[in-house]
Every structure is written in structure tokens, then in C-alpha cells.
Symmetry: C2
């Protein structure tokens, strides 16, 4: 009897590696757990989870011997960790291995939005360059003021990169951190007032819902650019859309949205937004490391070894 | 009688500032010099030059009292400096003030090309995200191997930024430089063999024509990405197009081309190239600094003060 249940939309490579390592029962989403027969469900001790569909108390209760949920990804907001803890179920995630990729995408979104590179590309490709001459001037990014909302591991990677662009680094975090002279703000509105670029690197979940509020967005001002590589939930998206449409801020570079992939169609009408399809960690190298870390958490559990990256 | 001749396609802001500071005779290109009357031409002691149309011996000889050509831009390959020196004409340019912008664009082009951000944007905006799911995985950029061709002021700004992406920095220069442990290559083929990203930051002009040769491009290999923010002339463009079309290299991020803005239409058919319309220094902040430096060189000359940024 197999002890592992694999849930979610995995790539072929990741699926094959998991099957080879753990011989799991495979379903495509949390909604499929109820369809498994009693004996199979009773045999499951570990879930290897991927995706954004909720995995909560109901699903856990369908698996009476579940003791581990190993999430694929650093963000585990799809998993009800409180419910898991109440049942003695351990949760793991895959931190750190994706920090570089996500930070790279954040910096690229900031530069692309600031330097209007999608528009400039269209200018060159559409014939406007020949017909109208130089692309209109835009803004200097280096030397600007950047505010990081959430100076965790990913936030710090972003700040380290932006510092090399001679940017003046400000940040919000729950407490002041040991930094190379970056400016701490205990209040996100004060942070937004101080900077032109607001890069959101918060953890997802209930606690950070709409943390970047209407008030924060308006404090950013007309030169302001919002970059979000965290979760769509961390920003008041309706307020962001209003501000972008009204020109209250200059633009946004976004990898994450509410209701992905069925994002608010208002985004498509905006030409001051660079849209990415939640590809922050979407590289072959990093996804292979994330899959390996997920598998190794399951293997450690099955072999009674300490979990590598526990969450609760 | 006015002593300054302003040549080239200036922005309204730069033109107004120049007119206020120097009350120049204004023409739109080098070809217009011959149309000025003898007295006007005889009065010209300084040319404030902008653009990519050649300003050579013939134009200089139309201005018998010319003693300064103040170029707008760091690259002065449109000006025949040898001919100028032979006539005792000093040439100035506008170095350094644009380094940050050009380096920003180089890094952004590298990230955009590596992370396929134009394609990913189209994936999100076209509905493929909903229809087909996640954007296909691409490559991790951080931690990769980058080769800078030409470690001058701009090359060094680029390298400093890429180092913050934990990239392994290699470079070609005429001689080894004092660096924080970057790897020197005396031969561009050896450089290309060692890296996946080749960032061209050479000075333009005859000496560097096709310096990034077919052999260099082929040495880069199938994971290779070429970024060029220098001049179209520095790369063997036909060889680059052949390599891109044949998949001998992975892609290119280009701000400069031969015959701008009438660039080779083969580029438009390639989906592994990010095209920018030579906007490296195209920010309000930097162009204002470039225009001020050009004006200040002319003013220094007219007031018998030392030139700020002489070339010859």
C-alpha cells in the first residue's frame, strides 16, 4: 500500500521524479481526494501538494492517517495550516531555492515598467521608430528610491539587487532588521510616501490580505510604480486598478493576481502595466530544486528523519 | 555674429536650453551646413553636434574657423576625429552621465530575454494562460555566467549590477583590469566559450567593427544570449541574424542596430530577440545632463576655459 498522495498540476518531469521516488497515488486536485476508496485513503500518511486550490480541514479529515503535507512552493496559503496543526499534521514548504528567480523577475518588472520597455519594443517593431523617430523619453531608474514591503528572504534578495542599481532602499517589516543602512518604516504608508517604487514581497495568506491598501497605493503618488511578485491577495487589487486607471500612480509590474489565471479583465485594458503569468519561480533549474526539496521532505518523514523545511 | 552651430535632431527641451545659452545657428543635419551663407559659416567657431549622420572633413572644411565639435552622446563615431585633429579641431563628448541608464537597459534586456518576459506577457494577455495553463519553464538567470565585451565605464556599471545577481563575471578588455575577482579573457572567443550571456559594451567606430564576429557568436553556443547596448557596428549583424535564425544561439536583447531606424527586417521575424529602439540613454534625467554637459563644453571653449570632457 502506497503511503503518499500526490495532488496538483505537476510538470511531466516533476511527476516522473515523484513517481520514481515515492510511487504515490496521483490525483489532479484536492477535490479528487473524496473519490478515492477508503482503503487507499486510510493508507495515505503524506500528501505532496502543489497548486492554489484550497486544501483544508475537510480534505485532511478524508485522510485519517495523514501526518505530513509537503507543499511545492514557498507560499503555502492554499493549505490550512491551523487545521493541520490541530490534527498533528506537519506542513513543509520549499523556501530559499526559488528566491533568486523571484527576485530576478521583480527587478526585471521594475526596469521594464520604469523604462517602458514593452512600449519601446512595440515602437521598434510597429514601424513607429521609422515614422516618428526616437521613442519618447522615459525615466531614469538607477538612483531612484525603492521600498520593499516585507524584508524576508525574497525581499532581501530583491533589495540586494536594487542596491547595485544605486537605489536608495527603504523597507517595511514587522521589526527593524540588520541592513546595510537601508531605511526602516514601521508603517507601509510612510514607506510608500518615501519611495517611487514599491516592491511587494510579503507572505500570502489571511494576515496580509490587502496589506497594500488604497491608502498605501495613493501615498505612492503619480511617479509611483507597484511591483508585486508575492500573491495577488497582498494588494487591494480594486484600489490598484482604480489608481492605475486614474493615473494616480504611474504603473505596475505584476506577476501575481487574484483569481489566476482568470485575472480581472481591467488589467488587459491598461497600457501602464506589465503582466506576467505567475512565472516567478518558473525556471527549469528552480522547479527541479523545488520538486527535489518537496520529495526529500516526504522521504525524510517516511524514513523518520527530521523534516528539512517544516512550517508548523 | 553667433559663434555656435547646432546640428542634429534635438528634443524641444534641449533645443530651447541651447538657444537660451548660446544663441546658435540651427540646422537639422550635417548636410545642411553647405546651405549656410559664407559669412555665417565663417563666424562658426563651435559645433554642437547630435546624431548618427557623418560629420567629416568636408563639413569641417565648410567652417574655416571651426575649433570645437561638442558631441551630444558618449559615442562620437559619427564624427571623423582624425580629420578634426588634423585641423586642430577639438572634440568633446558626454561620458559618464549616461552610464547608469545604459547599464540599466542592458541588465533589463538580459533578464527579459533570459526569462522570456515578452512571450510570457503575450501568454497572459492573449488568453493562453487560461487556455493552456502555466507559461512553459524557462531559464534561471541569477548565478549564470556573464561575459562583458569591453570593460569601460559602461561595461563596469553593467558588471557591477550583474554581480548582484550572483553572476560569474568574465570580461574582455585590451588589458587586464583591477576587478573584484572577475575573470579576464584576452580573446573574445575564449570569453564567449566561457559564458552564456555576452554583453557588448564596446566603443563604436572603425576599430571595433564586427569585433563580435561570427566565430565569437558561434563560440557562445546554444544557450547563449547576446546583449548589445553599444553600437550596431560592433557585432557582425549578418552572422548574428544567421545564428539566431538557425538556433545556434538562444536569443538576443538589442538596443542598437545597423542602419537605425531602418533595421534589417529579418529581426522582426525572430521571436527570440527583444528589440529596443536605441533608447539606452533615453530618460529625461540623463538627456538633460547630456545636453548640459554639451552646452558646458561649448561655453568653456567660448570662455577660453579648459574643456570638460575632451576626446582628442
Amino acid at each position: 500500500m502506497t503511503a503518499t498522495l500526490m495532488i496538483g498540476p505537476y510538470s511531466e518531469t516533476d511527476r516522473d521524479a515523484m513517481i520514481e521516488a515515492l510511487d504515490p497515488v496521483v490525483v489532479s486536485g484536492p477535490g479528487d481526494v473524496a473519490g478515492l476508496d477508503d482503503a487507499t485513503r486510510a493508507g495515505i500518511r503524506a500528501v505532496a501538494f502543489k497548486g492554489h486550490s484550497a486544501f483544508g480541514a475537510d480534505e485532511m479529515d478524508l485522510l485519517p492517517n495523514l501526518a505530513l503535507i509537503a507543499n511545492y512552493g514557498v507560499g503555502y496559503d492554499a493549505i490550512d495550516v491551523t487545521a493541520a496543526s490541530a490534527r498533528g499534521i506537519k506542513v513543509t514548504n520549499t523556501p530559499d531555492v526559488l528566491n533568486d528567480d523571484v527576485a530576478d523577475l521583480a527587478v526585471a518588472l521594475l526596469l521594464m515598467t520604469g523604462r517602458e520597455m514593452e512600449h519601446a519594443s512595440a515602437w521598434a517593431r510597429s514601424g513607429e521608430w521609422q515614422a516618428k523617430g526616437e521613442y519618447p523619453l522615459n525615466r531614469k531608474v538607477s538612483g531612484g528610491k525603492a521600498g520593499i514591503v516585507g524584508l524576508g528572504r525574497i525581499g532581501r534578495e530583491i533589495a540586494d539587487r536594487l542596491a547595485a542599481f544605486k537605489m536608495d532602499i527603504h523597507y517595511f517589516a514587522r521589526s527593524e532588521k540588520d541592513t546595510p543602512g537601508w531605511t526602516y518604516h514601521s508603517d507601509p504608508v510612510s514607506l510608500a510616501e518615501a519611495v517611487d517604487y514599491l516592491v511587494v514581497a510579503l507572505v500570502g495568506g489571511k494576515d496580509t490580505e490587502k496589506f497594500v491598501s488604497n491608502k498605501v497605493i495613493e501615498a505612492l503618488g503619480p511617479r509611483g510604480i507597484v511591483v508585486n511578485i508575492s500573491r495577488g491577495t497582498t494588494v487591494d487589487e480594486a484600489a490598484l486598478l482604480d489608481a492605475l486607471e486614474a493615473g494616480k500612480i504611474a504603473g505596475a509590474g505584476l506577476d501575481v493576481f487574484l483569481n489566476e489565471p482568470n485575472i480581472d479583465p481591467r488589467f488587459y485594458a491598461l497600457d501602464n502595466v506589465v503582466i506576467q503569468p505567475h512565472q516567478g519561480s518558473g525556471t527549469h533549474e528552480t522547479r527541479a530544486e523545488m520538486a527535489a526539496l518537496q520529495r526529500n521532505n516526504v522521504l525524510a518523514f517516511l524514513q523518520d528523519q527530521p523534516l528539512l523545511t517544516p512550517v508548523n
